[in-house]
């Protein structure tokens, strides 16, 4: 019995590194967000254009971003724009990203805007 448990523990340990590590916020932003918000985070991604009734948010806009709480940003990413009274053009990413990944994205948004919620820029 003990041996079996040991073998199971060893197998689990061997399998652990094969699990993909959570990507950094920056890597996630590059993968999922650049397409609309742009490689500089200023809202000028390749998808921005006249077919969009609302242009993508400029994440380097410290004044705007400081007025949004981390919870609101998390919700916008997880549930999409309409969940926070914003555009449907921002889709819900909750089916593609884990809570941990969305939290990392929120932290990266704070790096991009160099701002915190409520703090005057």
């Amino acid at each position: 019995m003990t041996e079996r448990l040991l073998v199971a523990a060893l197998l689990l340990a061997a399998a652990w590194p094969a699990e993909a590590a959570t990507p950094s916020g920056e890597a996630l932003y590059k993968t999922y967000c650049w397409q609309c918000h742009g490689s500089r985070g200023t809202g000028h991604g390749i998808n921005a254009g006249e077919h969009m009734s609302v242009q993508p948010r400029d994440h380097t806009d410290a004044k705007y971003m400081a007025a949004r709480s981390d919870e609101e940003l998390f919700r916008a990413i997880q549930e999409g724009g309409p969940a926070v009274n914003k555009s449907v053009l921002m889709p819900p990413w909750g089916g593609a990203l884990s809570d941990e990944e969305i939290s990392r994205l929120v932290a990266y948004l704070r790096d991009l805007c160099r701002c915190r919620h409520g703090a005057a820029p």
Partner: protein, 242 residues
């Protein structure tokens, strides 16, 4: 010496006789030799973002469920660009003078073209690649219609899909595949399954999973059909550029 010549002649004759059979293209070998360096023929799909960044062509290990064979045969002979910014758009960006991202056309690679015989053989081999078939229900798509104007509203205003996809040549987002050829290109039953849960097919898909009702899923495919019919009526057929 004479016997050796005779053997050589006989072997040569056998070779000549063998030529017609050998000329038939081996589709599977063709895929391995000419497609596998850019396309994953075996799976599984990448689970890391690095895997997404390094992907050069769409995964093909479920090609037999995803594509229509007749489209494959046509397209492989005259390939056009379906994803305006490549498979991972982040590898094909340049920043213009105003600081706006643009598609770096020079970085995009043209897809190779096959002869008719090669295209037929490749399509046959691709149709045999059916990983994840449990995700597709044959007959899931029920034929129906939607007006273009209603479809445009759904795809744009209501669901926001136009942010990433073009609905006609030159109009729509650039990071996703064009949808105005989707009807000709894709198996409608697969489209229903993929839209319902893109991550079940590709865990790191750049396509978000929208909460779509069964009726919405059907309507999207009706819309793709209407878009393609409209494209044909305007004589633009498939793809505006390559």
């Amino acid at each position: 010496m004479a016997r050796r010549h005779l053997t050589g002649l006989l072997a040569g004759g056998a070779l000549l006789l063998a030529v017609p059979a050998a000329a038939a293209v081996d589709g599977r070998a063709l895929l391995e030799e000419r497609c596998a360096s850019c396309h994953d023929l075996t799976g599984p799909a990448p689970t890391t973002v690095e895997g997404v960044w390094s992907r050069k062509g769409p995964d093909l290990f479920y090609a037999g469920l995803k594509y229509r064979r007749d489209w494959l045969v046509r397209w492989l002979q005259r390939p056009t660009r379906i994803r305006p910014a490549g498979v991972y758009y982040g590898n094909h960006l340049r920043v213009d003078a105003e600081g706006h991202d643009r598609v770096d056309e020079a970085s995009l690679v043209r897809h190779l073209a096959l002869t008719r015989e090669e295209a037929e053989a490749a399509a046959d081999a691709l149709m045999r690649l059916r990983a994840k078939s449990e995700l597709v229900r044959p007959g899931a798509y029920q034929p129906g219609r939607i007006s273009l104007s209603m479809g445009d509203l759904m795809f744009g205003k209501f669901k926001g899909c136009i942010a990433c996809h073009r609905i006609e040549p030159g109009y729509g987002g650039l990071s996703g595949p064009e949808v105005y050829t989707a009807w000709a290109r894709l198996n409608p039953d697969w489209v229903i399954s993929f839209m319902r849960n893109p991550q079940a097919w590709d865990p790191r898909s750049l396509m978000p999973r929208l909460p779509l009702k069964e009726r919405d899923l059907q309507r999207f495919v009706h819309y793709f059909k209407a878009l393609y019919e409209d494209l044909q009526q305007r004589g633009e057929e498939e793809g505006d550029h390559d």
